[in-house]
């Protein structure tokens, strides 16, 4: 894939050079903030993979390479908007204010990781959906609800390039156009759906072309350029907020990691391709740009890395220190009220757990 030849929104290229005048909002302070966020979430990602390798986390999907997409989303959304994420969205959730502990807890196999209410204002954001693309239909429902409630809030949903092949995605896009609802779709086009390359997902040249059939605007953006990402997302959110309807954003990026920690991408994709993709990754280019502008230095970078390490170690400590869920917690939130039958089944589990915890193997 020749990302340079593809027509897409871009401000800063992979050498860190400006290819278009920066938008008004993009002052150096803001961009430095974006940069720091991206570095922090990347450090988190490295740490999460390490935790999985040492048996302290379950299977984990790395977001390596998609930091610009996530940080732009998280920063562009208002607190009162509703975010409908997919599993690679830690950067967006974190930038939105949801603690990293929650993500560790979730991938650590604890349902409380999807309870964002302790983090405050994100009570209406949806949890991850494991079945691919299903979240798109939920997002249509959320956006329709926001429109019905008339509060000028916007819903934003994300998915991968593979997800765009599913009926749920296409039905959602179609409905968003028909209903004229405040919804922004962001495709993290990271070129691979596990081992299936983008070219096998569909014959369309651009995934954003799918918007045409739905009668909404489709935009392709350099997903490794946080400036372009933020600019397009912010504009699409405003468009939706004004009642002008939905937008489909295709963020062109690359999955620099394996699909998850259970995957080995070297089985199906070439080392050359991966090496080339590293040339375009989002962090390096912004760093070059900031250094060029005199807004950042190598020493700043070292200091920031040290800071990130401290922050993340604390996050990990907190995660590892969390009291496990009670064995019977699977019953606690199944229905508002448990039937007698379920209460009996719950008792059985409690007794069984006591037996097992008591080490009684008889």
């Amino acid at each position: 894939m020749n990302v340079l030849a593809m027509p897409m929104h871009r401000f800063i290229d992979h050498h860190g050079k400006l290819v278009n005048p920066l938008p008004e909002w993009a002052d150096l302070m803001t961009l430095k903030g974006f940069y720091c966020d991206m570095v922090l979430t990347r450090s988190y990602d490295n740490k999460a993979v390490a935790l999985q390798r040492t048996g302290k986390l379950g299977t984990y999907p790395s977001h390596l390479g998609s930091e610009a997409i996530g940080i732009a989303i998280g920063r562009a959304l208002k607190k009162t908007d509703v975010f409908i994420p997919y599993y690679r969205d830690l950067p967006a959730m974190w930038a939105r204010g949801i603690g990293m502990e929650k993500n560790l807890q979730y991938w650590g196999g604890d349902e409380r990781g999807s309870d964002f209410s302790p983090d405050g204002e994100h009570c209406r954001d949806l949890p991850f959906c494991v079945p691919i693309a299903t979240q798109c239909t939920h997002a249509v429902g959320v956006a329709a609800a926001l429109k019905i409630q008339g509060n000028h809030h916007v819903a934003l949903v994300t998915c991968g390039d593979g997800a765009t092949s599913k009926g749920d995605f296409l039905e959602s896009l179609n409905c968003a156009g028909a209903w004229n609802i405040p919804l922004v779709f962001v495709i993290n086009n990271n070129q691979w759906a596990i081992s299936v390359p983008r070219s096998i997902q569909c014959g369309a040249e651009l995934l954003s072309d799918k918007a045409k059939g739905a009668g909404i605007e489709g935009i392709t953006v350099d997903g490794n350029d946080v400036v372009a990402m933020f600019d397009v997302i912010a504009k699409s959110l405003e468009h939706a907020r004004k009642g002008k309807g939905a937008t489909l954003i295709e963020a062109v990026s690359y999955r620099l990691s394996d699909h998850t920690t259970a995957d080995d991408a070297s089985r199906y994709r070439s080392e050359d391709e991966l090496q080339q993709a590293w040339e375009f990754e989002p962090i390096k280019r912004l760093k070059s740009f900031l250094i060029e502008q005199g807004a950042w230095s190598e020493q700043d970078d070292i200091n920031w890395q040290v800071h990130c390490k401290e922050v993340i170690e604390k996050v990990v400590d907190n995660y590892l220190g969390i009291t496990p869920q009670a064995p019977e917690s699977a019953f606690d939130f199944l229905y508002e009220q448990l039937s007698e039958d379920l209460l009996n089944q719950r008792d059985l589990i409690i007794n069984k757990a006591m037996r097992m915890q008591g080490g009684d193997h008889g």
């Binding site: 999807s114 209406r124 949890p127 429902g141 409630q149 409905c175 028909a178 606690d332």
Partner: protein
């Protein structure tokens, strides 16, 4: 007071709840101007507008998912599927999302949604329009299944379903949509979702049924009565959770259990009821329990439909075997 049909009662319940709760939204294919293919939603759009009565694109997975999304945001959506046979594209949303939202988010988000669908055979409908798959949904943790069988219970149970904070599959026996009539007091009173209803008292056997089969079951009970056999007829109404306590109480008196359902036999809800009786109340039984069910076949096209529908005689014969064969 005038008698109304089961369908009218559904419509009355929707009108009542939409008038009294701004968060109730009706959506589905054709539910707006057309008032639904069976006219269950007639008049709602005129009254409550297109923001609350929403025609969706023809896409059932979408309807399922949109309903989940709306429900997470404080609305109480009531989604209509035109027939139970067209719920299948949406099953992923029902099973993977509606049923799990409360659990997945530890109660942070819930899914107070109702998924309505007409079901069952007997109206000479095309393929996919006649099945009864309530057992499929009863199997899923996090979902409740409700089937009304009279106008009064349709009204009260639908109100209860809409007010429930959990997702509910609400299956309407379309064969008796217009044929069963009774008076309904439109006072907004809901019926409980955790109990069955005894429609007829009897001492000789307990007949548990639901949906349209209630009609043939009551007829059979009448015929049996003329033969000196008194059947206690119970409308299960809430398929999940099953009110076993009431069934066991009835069995204490009768000692004989007959389950009648239109759905296929294998892994049907009848099997569940009988399994629970053998676990919990075997000693009450004076005879092995029996089932009158649909066959484990694909529902045939309508020329042969009647052979597959449960007739009054089928029930009478089974009841006689149960009582007389074990005297």
């Amino acid at each position: 007071m005038a008698e109304v049909t089961l369908l009218d009662a559904i419509n009355m319940a929707l009108h009542y709840e939409m008038a009294h709760d701004q968060s109730v939204i009706v959506l589905g294919e054709d539910v707006g101007d057309n008032g639904g293919v069976f006219r269950a939603t007639v008049g709602l759009k005129e009254k409550y507008g297109c923001k609350r009565v929403i025609d969706s694109p023809l896409a059932e997975a979408l309807i399922g998912g949109v309903t989940v999304g709306m429900a997470t945001q404080g609305l109480r959506p009531v989604a209509e599927f035109q027939f139970q046979g067209f719920v299948f594209p949406a099953i992923e949303h029902l099973v993977c999302h509606a049923a799990r939202m409360r659990n997945r988010t530890r109660g942070r988000l819930t899914c107070p949604a109702v998924f309505r669908a007409p079901f069952g055979g007997g109206i000479h409908a095309p393929e996919h329009h006649s099945e009864s798959v309530e057992a499929l949904f009863a199997h899923i943790p996090g979902i409740s299944v409700v089937i009304p069988s009279s106008p009064q219970r349709a009204y009260g149970l639908l109100l209860a379903a809409i007010r429930s904070n959990d997702p509910i599959m609400f299956f309407e026996p379309k064969r008796i949509y217009r044929t069963v009539k009774s008076t309904v007091i439109d006072n907004g009173e809901a019926l409980p979702l955790n109990t069955c209803f005894t429609l007829r008292k009897g001492r000789d056997l307990t007949l548990v049924t639901w949906g349209a089969c209630v009609v043939e079951s009551l007829q059979a009970a009448q015929a049996l009565s003329e033969l000196g056999i008194e059947a206690e007829v119970i409308d299960l109404a809430t398929i999940k959770p099953i009110d076993m306590a009431s069934i066991i109480k009835s069995l204490e008196k009768t000692g004989r259990l007959l389950v009648v359902h239109e759905a296929c036999k294998t892994c049907g809800v009848g099997a569940e009821i009988i399994a629970r009786i053998s676990e919990q109340a075997m000693c009450l039984l004076k005879a092995p329990p029996r089932r009158v069910t649909g066959t484990d076949t694909i529902m045939p096209y309508y020329k042969n439909e009647d052979y597959f529908m449960i007739q009054e005689d089928d029930i009478v014969d089974a009841a006689k075997l149960l009582v007389e064969g074990w005297k």
